[in-house]
């Protein structure tokens, strides 16, 4: 007899299709990408994989600035909701507390949902451990519209009380990986055609421009040592021509992948 709550991960794991947002005043409107300054409502699909019904399981919702490696202490709590589930049942759960995406994060969607109950508690750790903990899932996707040059800033967090060393790996993904997310973004993800990405780099420059020679830039960033609780800002920069590109940034510690975010770059026709 057990309750096993799950919010499913995506592929890669930080692109869950079990979390989505609805922008505007009506939380029951169709899903859509969050818009700066407009209230957005978060939803999660929560399932009970156990063989015992659960009443009033808690679902918590968070947002974070574009970042990798954040935890329950550094993410921003939005609100919570409750759900009752029979064995094998899945339900869509609404967080009625609105999240207003702020200008500082450019409407970037880094949202997270976790489901738990006293009969199926969360691990006793502030870390989310998204890839290994079925209770929690994450959607960490930035959408950047660019004429040619693009940049996307993000943070890398060390939420540990010990110094840690991380590596960042940047790689181009396949636009087909976004197909499962298409229903949640309206027309945004429809009819995307692969574009050409050039001069892709990670840099610590705040606003990398064409005339700036990239510094410390690489597709596989040198190990970064972060003090306990430290955050380091980095920028993903490059150029896009014709179509769109999906770029994944993976955060690795010495042993495993501990964080990740994706950036969808869409070439906007000039005018």
């Amino acid at each position: 007899m057990s309750v096993q709550l799950e919010v499913r991960d995506g592929n890669p794991w930080w692109l869950s299709t079990d979390i989505w947002t609805v922008s505007g005043d009506d939380p029951e409107a169709p899903p859509g990408a969050p818009i700066v300054g407009i209230p957005a409502y978060l939803w999660a699909s929560v399932r009970n994989n156990g063989n015992t019904a659960v009443a009033s399981a808690t679902v918590r919702f968070y947002w974070a600035n574009p970042s990798v490696g954040f935890d329950r202490n550094t993410a921003n709590f939005i609100g919570s909701a409750f759900v009752s589930l029979d064995p094998g049942q899945a339900q869509d759960v609404l967080c009625l507390t609105p999240w207003v995406p702020a200008f500082v994060n450019g409407g970037h969607e880094c949202v997270l949902a976790e489901a738990f109950h006293s009969s199926d508690p969360l691990p006793a750790s502030p870390a989310f451990n998204v890839p290994v903990d079925r209770h929690v899932a994450q959607r960490n996707l930035s959408v950047v519209m660019a004429l040619k040059q693009f940049s996307a800033r993000f943070e890398i967090h060390n939420s540990s009380r010990k110094p840690r060393t991380f590596r960042l790996r940047v790689q181009e993904g396949d636009l087909r990986e976004l197909q499962a997310l298409a229903p949640f973004y309206g027309k945004l993800l429809q009819n995307l055609k692969p574009g050409r990405v050039g001069n892709l780099r990670l840099t610590d420059a705040l606003c990398p421009c064409e005339e700036q020679a990239p510094k410390n830039s690489t597709l596989d960033h040198a190990p970064l040592q972060l003090a306990p609780g430290a955050r380091l800002g980095l920028t993903l920069a490059g150029e896009i021509e014709g179509g769109a590109a999906l770029i994944h940034i993976r955060q690795l510690d010495e042993r495993r992948e501990v964080g990740g975010l994706s950036v969808l770059v869409v070439h906007r026709q000039g005018g």
Partner: protein, 511 residues
């Protein structure tokens, strides 16, 4: 096919007396209170087993204690009351939304409803209470209360320091409101607001003749009713805790009232909580009656003081003097004489308007009928089942979600039991929407735990009306519909001194 709806706005009830707040408005200073909602099966078919729970709220400061209710069946057209505990201490004043889920197997209905949350504060320097809401702030300074000339009070444990008149009684609600104490003895020396000044500060100052309504719905006077109710409950707690429940102490104005009210005597424990609730309810009903449900003094003042073009209204004030020309009888159409003067202050002028008239309580029943056993034999596993029918002033039987009906039972040792009565066709109710509200209590568990539970219990069936406004109404239409007023007849506050009729509805011998 079953379909579910919550037709009317969910409403608050507070834990100290168990009664609904005026117009169901939630109040942060109470802290923990109950969210009540009438769920209706609007379809034609029976619903079958369903689970009902609160999914989420729009304000993370509203902390709901999760609870999933199961209802065996809800036939087409039937309505059932559900309630949840929630802590509003950290809630932001304003209009919030709550999502309710009714789930039957894989089928799920989500119902999102508005609720109103206010925050009542006490400002010690001026001795005013204020209620905050998005459209502004309503402040009230009480000058006079009507009360008995001689009371059971006077057992003041701390000497009254005249220099310390600004006692914040609301603190007593925060500290004690959620607990019930068998030794609580109700005693108040002032009951009914008789003279007070209301000040409305709009947010922001407005151009034109009319301001927005609080929460775009109820009249300003509803917030006054909330304040009056809170003040009296707080005073009752304060008097019982340390003898400091003098409401005029908080308001800073004068002494007791100019009327010789009867005194409300309660024996302590459970009956004292009921007395406290009914006296506070009487204050709310009297306040609502004096200021009229149809159009309250602020709106009538605005009607009669159109400012010149280009002026901005900065504030409005209403000074009220009530004359209780008839006994204040809960649930009966008593008359109240009222004089009030309205003043509008703009950035260029001051405008005034005054009224002297007689108003009547409209929250009434012509009668109600109860049916309950005189004796419950626990050794035969008999349950106490009580049924009630409530008939309005037009001789129409009230049904389903029209009323919030509770039975309060006071035991031989001051025990207090409270349960809801439903008209939904689920056991012990026989038939949905037939106008018979039914509730039950199993005394067997009580007598097993507590031998003093055997003996004579006294019961009170208290019904409160429910705001029947619908979402399609304009604010002006919705404002004229007020709920949360007691309509049953357990208390009459008269002005001949002596003891007020505080009448239980019946007794049962638990054997």
């Amino acid at each position: 096919m079953a379909a579910f709806a919550i037709v009317h706005r969910p409403f608050a009830s507070e834990p100290f007396t168990g009664l609904a707040l005026p117009d169901g408005i939630f109040e942060t200073s109470i802290g923990v209170q109950r969210i009540n909602a009438h769920v209706t099966n609007t379809g034609a078919a029976a619903a079958g087993m369903a689970a009902v729970y609160i999914e989420s709220s729009s304000d993370p400061g509203i902390v709901v204690t999760p609870q999933t209710h199961f209802v065996p069946d809800l036939t087409g057209g039937a309505t059932r009351l559900f309630s949840w505990q929630a802590d509003f201490s950290a809630a932001v004043p304003g209009t919030h939304r709550v999502s309710f889920v009714v789930q039957q197997g894989a089928a799920k209905t989500r119902i999102i409803k508005k609720i109103f949350v206010t925050r009542v504060l006490f400002e010690p320097v001026s001795g005013t209470f204020s209620a905050q809401f998005p459209e502004g702030t309503l402040s009230v300074r009480f000058h006079e209360f009507a009360g008995p000339e001689s009371t059971c009070c006077g057992k003041r444990k701390q000497p009254h320091d005249p220099d310390q008149k600004a006692v914040n009684l609301l603190d007593y609600i925060r500290r004690n409101g959620g607990r019930r104490d068998a030794s609580f003895v109700f005693c108040l020396s002032q009951y009914l607001p008789a003279s007070y000044t209301l000040t409305f500060t709009p947010n922001p100052p407005y151009a034109g003749q009319y301001s927005d309504l609080p929460f775009s719905d109820p009249w300003w006077k509803i917030l006054l009713c909330v304040i009056a109710l809170l003040l009296l409950i707080a005073a009752a707690i304060a008097e019982a805790v340390d003898g400091s429940g003098d409401v005029t102490v908080t308001g800073g104005g004068g002494g007791g009232g100019n009327e010789n009210c009867c005194g409300v005597g309660a024996e302590g424990g459970g009956s004292s909580y009921i007395a406290a609730g009914l006296v506070a309810a009487a204050a709310a009903v009297a306040t609502a009656a004096g200021l009229s449900d149809a159009r309250d003094p602020f709106r009538r003042g605005q009607d009669n003081t159109p400012p010149n073009a280009g002026e901005t209204t900065l504030g409005e004030q209403v000074a009220v003097q009530l004359d209780y020309v008839e006994p204040v009888a809960l649930g009966k159409p008593f008359a109240v004489g009222v004089k009030w003067g309205y003043q509008r202050t703009t950035d260029a002028n001051t405008y005034a308007f005054g009224v002297s008239e007689t108003q009547h309580n409209v929250h009434v029943l012509s009668r109600y009928e109860l049916n309950a056993p005189d004796v419950v034999l626990t050794y035969k596993e008999e349950r106490f089942v009580i049924r009630g029918r409530f008939i309005d002033k037009d001789e129409q039987v009230l049904r389903g979600g029209a009323l919030f009906v509770q039975c309060f039972m006071v035991g031989p040792a001051g025990q207090l039991i409270q349960f809801e009565m439903q008209d939904d066709g689920n056991w012990p109710d026989d038939k949905p929407n037939d106008g018979t509200y039914t509730g039950q209590h199993d005394f067997l568990r009580d007598v097993r735990k507590d031998p003093t539970a055997r003996g004579i219990w006294t019961y009170y069936v208290i019904a409160q009306d429910v705001n029947q406004a619908t979402p399609d109404m304009t604010p002006e239409q919705a404002a004229q519909i007020i709920g949360g007023m007691v309509v049953t007849h357990q208390l009459v506050v008269d002005f001949n001194g002596g003891t007020c009729p505080f009448v239980p509805d019946g007794h049962v011998n638990v054997i």
